[in-house]
Symmetry: C2
Amino acid sequence: MTVGTSGFSIAGYPKAVPTALARRAEKGERIKITLITGASVGDEIDGQLARAGVIARRYPYQSNKSMRDLINDNEIAYVDMHLSQVPFFIKNGYFGKIDVAVIEAIGIDEQGNIIPSTSIGCSNTLVEYAEKVIVEVNMWQPVKLEGIHDVYSPGRIKQTEMIPVVLPNNRVGMPYIRCSPDKIAAVVITEIPDGTASLAKTDENSQKMADYLIKFIEDEVAAGRLPRDLPPIQSGVGNVANAVLGGFQKSNFRNLTVYSEVLQDAVLDLIETERVAFASGTALTLSPERIDEFYKALDMFKHKLFLRPVEISCSPEVVRRLGLIAINTAIEVDLAGNVNSTHIGGDRIMNGIGGSGDFARNAALPVFTTPSTAKNGTISCIVPHVSHVDHTEHDAHVIITEYGLADLRCKTAYERAELLIENCAHPRFRPALREFVARQYAKKGHRHGFAPEDLILWQQAVDEINAAESAPAKPAKAKKKKS
Amino acid sequence: MTVGTSGFSIAGYPKAVPTALARRAEKGERIKITLITGASVGDEIDGQLARAGVIARRYPYQSNKSMRDLINDNEIAYVDMHLSQVPFFIKNGYFGKIDVAVIEAIGIDEQGNIIPSTSIGCSNTLVEYAEKVIVEVNMWQPVKLEGIHDVYSPGRIKQTEMIPVVLPNNRVGMPYIRCSPDKIAAVVITEIPDGTASLAKTDENSQKMADYLIKFIEDEVAAGRLPRDLPPIQSGVGNVANAVLGGFQKSNFRNLTVYSEVLQDAVLDLIETERVAFASGTALTLSPERIDEFYKALDMFKHKLFLRPVEISCSPEVVRRLGLIAINTAIEVDLAGNVNSTHIGGDRIMNGIGGSGDFARNAALPVFTTPSTAKNGTISCIVPHVSHVDHTEHDAHVIITEYGLADLRCKTAYERAELLIENCAHPRFRPALREFVARQYAKKGHRHGFAPEDLILWQQAVDEINAAESAPAKPAKAKKKKS
């Protein structure tokens, strides 16, 4: 069976039905499904069901440890996708028939209209194309959320509609998902919170990256390359993304808008302090600490937020038109500006590309942030070649680490390498990176190449740096610092 | 000085002014410019001026041998760009001030309105933002071309217009480029043909690829994943692209439309036989053999063609909306479906990414074609890892070689590898590719990794295959064939 569920960034996914299904599988029943969601869902689905052996194939995104391990052991077939394309794939039949859609809602009326909860993702398309629909009405989600949804969806190939969003706050659709009542197979009542995680306190590195970003944007405004009333801002998901976006709190920008995928805590903070006038996303992923406060102040927030289907929130059409400042996170960046945001070591998936490809390719100003090192400083996040390319050198205009910012626009490959090494790389890796570039430059060619022997030399250099720093020579350095 | 010129795919570029500039430089005058064009231009610019040492920096595309060699020797700074973004970069000041625009035209009126010739590219934006404009009125280009241009351009950040193209034949702009007369620094009269090249006869491999494509599209229609009246078709540039598009000649499809970047000979053939009802592009790049015929039949063609600015012909907004079938050419494809379409050996640029990134990311059906081998069969074009990623695995839905077609949609990395090896790779390289995959699979991980030692093993396997085939064992094989 092919099952589609609501859920995006651990918000608004069904909880009771997948739990019941996992129980059946744990008792020995053989159940195998292909699972399609908007994006990541909670442990009730990607954890429980994966561990119970229920999930055979998984589209288009995940962020769960159990799921990830099973994917990397090749036990679950996983296809990472641009999230804006999932509804398109459903509509045009690329996934085949969708047997059941399981949708979390805050309500359903007698016409079958479903009011979604904290996310939309591809729920509306799943409901439209699935043979049967199961609705989980979650009493934990406040009914007052009604009205924040704006459900609009273009047709199949070859529709010719323009998506009429020209400002983040344009209402273009309906506040619910239309569904024929005879498709509804069951309505299940639940009262289970979204499994969102707490956010870490903003660390020093994220703060520095936020400062570089704000300074850069201010300089762009001063140079006339951006208007003072900035275009809408998109921000990726996670601690660092939340912290970097939070940097606007200290800026002089007012009346900002957000046109993003996932609205995290920082967006609400910025609305409260009147930095942000309106925010549009496809999921509300708030920390458990923030969500109660949000629900209490819902009357105020309600008129300043929209949740839309992912094909609209990540729509290349709308992203290009609005001229977004798109801020996403990288795992590693190479000397030409190619970005890896999904894989560790080239072969093990972390989460997935999400909507970052839709944003980075089409935004006015695609920015990627990453700490300069990983694994306690032993790995450089600025590398000769990324082990997997999610965003090509054409799609990353600005790279920011805690050491600084590299503006890659209008720069050649070797100019980029220099900027990334001198502005962004951790100082301990700079000499080895410079050496790599010098060796390549001597060989001629428009850019540094891909010879395996050079990659081995680079790996050896990294090993030597790490060995030297853990050797007895270290105390000498510490002494220096004290003097 | 920063100089922008008209010209796209060796069509509609100025010829007399750059030739005069090259003469001055050859006589010893020190002239250095940054050059921005729509795309590739003729030898008068990218050849002559490059060889004369006039060009210091070059954006955003080229296809000239002299230019390419100087770029790869790091004598000319070159930045390869998504072509849809060039007008955007100009408008928002990313390139800095544009001093002069040199534009080929078929005419200019007393209000300063410029009627472009065989391409638009970013000419309209250059005219709008340059301090001075030089117009080359080319008498070789027939005045009757007037009317095929549709000049529309969205504003700077943050404009909020929808680009109103919902069908390829929608006229949305003006038939000329508006220019204030006091910006016109000079008008030069010339009579020099575009330097377009002859097209090779369709070879057997291209014919096979065309057949696989048509068969695949017919199957998609039969399966209900494409409508019988297909969405518009985009086709890349060059012999193979022209031949593959020409494959529609033998198909049963009628009333097709083309929404592309460059209109080559095959488009005219398809219009003549009434396969194609309307074609929209940004350049008319016809072989010298075809262009005279075209001009003779211009009255008929005129109502079936538009030339638009590149930001419209390659617009992510329009490409996504129209749901294009986008057919582009690859240099090599890797086992996960990543495509290299710009670099040889990872470090030497061929031409550039052109508009292919705008199309492949946003089209409904992005297809890449490549012969299975290069260099007389000694190099496999299906490889473990491409030496440069232009299109990620998310942006290539279908790969076609003369051996067959791989439909990569909804497939995991290892499923893709199997399809690409068994359907697309040349049989002589299949065992080595299978071995590479088996070795990787044994290591676990969601996909094959990037370990340099494995890349070396692959290179050794290729060398062994080539050595074996050129060794004395060969006659035995030939004997076998005869028997």
